[in-house]
């Protein structure tokens, strides 16, 4: 159990370090970094590698935005097994629905209740 926490910390931190290097050395914007990471997550899942990372690192792999890409592809593939090509479109947002829906809901509520501090 302790090892789970250790690897979550190390792997999650390392993925963030890669992001930081993209920001500092290549001078990409945070939006560029997040977009490339989400694509990377989808590609890694395409090779079947991201599931292995999740098994190994737990939250260290599910919390970074890369896992969003993984979930998008994963959901698409699950539906594709059943419904062929058309299934891809059906499945894309299946696993990521909770994340997107809650981000929209909480973002909306916070915007209504709070005021920016500048």
């Amino acid at each position: 159990m302790i090892m789970d926490f250790f690897w979550a910390f190390v792997v999650g931190g390392s993925i963030c370090v890669i992001g930081q290097l993209l920001l500092d050395i290549f001078k990409l914007t945070p939006a560029h970094v997040m977009s490339s990471f989400v694509v990377a997550g989808a590609v890694l899942d395409g090779f079947g590698l991201y599931d292995k990372l999740i098994e190994f690192a737990g939250a260290g792999a599910t919390v970074p935005i890369t896992s969003f890409g993984h979930s998008l592809l994963h959901g698409a593939m699950v539906q594709a097994e059943e419904h062929g090509f058309l299934g891809i479109a059906v499945g894309i947002f299946q696993l990521t629905s909770a994340g997107i829906a809650s981000a929209i809901l909480f973002g909306f509520l916070v915007a209504i209740i709070f005021k920016p501090k500048g």
């Binding site: 370090v17 970094v33 395409g46 981000a103």
Partner: protein, 148 residues
């Protein structure tokens, strides 16, 4: 001699370099810490509600998104972000912050044209790229699977 033609090159020596090592260290520690909290939440949901590892993923992500949205509302997340850089942008909390901060900022333009229309100003690219990538990779993989 600085001239118009060599300007971008010549000024490199005047531009302070980012503190590469310190920035990476801060990103590592904060990013790792957020994932640590995520791991703790996963274990919590598994123990308290009997979720499986896979099932616990959704409530974990949702809880982290909630925390990030609240911290954004209190004006704290931007300070964390300046300190941690990618350490707070890369985890899903960064995604939540980009949605919440845009929605919050545009409240003054009303709920429909302000909050709702601008919410995805910064996060839109993540969703678009993720969807397009999933489509392309999905198509390729499915084609390969069907053919072989």
């Amino acid at each position: 001699m600085i001239t118009k033609d060599n300007y971008k090159q010549s000024i490199k020596s005047y531009q302070p370099k980012p503190k590469y090592f310190i920035n990476c260290l801060k990103a590592f520690l904060v990013g790792g810490f957020i994932c640590l909290i995520g791991q703790g939440l996963t274990v919590f949901y598994m123990e308290m509600f009997g979720f499986s590892t896979k099932e616990a993923g959704n409530p974990t992500i949702t809880t982290l998104i909630f925390i990030a949205a609240i911290l954004t509302g209190f004006g704290v997340y931007d300070k964390i972000g300046q300190f941690a850089g990618a350490g707070s942008a890369v985890p899903v909390t960064g995604f939540a912050n980009s949605i919440t901060s845009a929605a919050l900022e545009h409240r003054t333009e009303g709920i429909v044209l302000g909050v709702s229309s601008n919410m995805f100003k910064l996060a839109g690219s993540v969703i678009v790229f993720g969807t397009v990538a999933a489509y392309v990779v999905g198509m390729i993989r499915y084609t390969i699977q069907t053919l072989f």
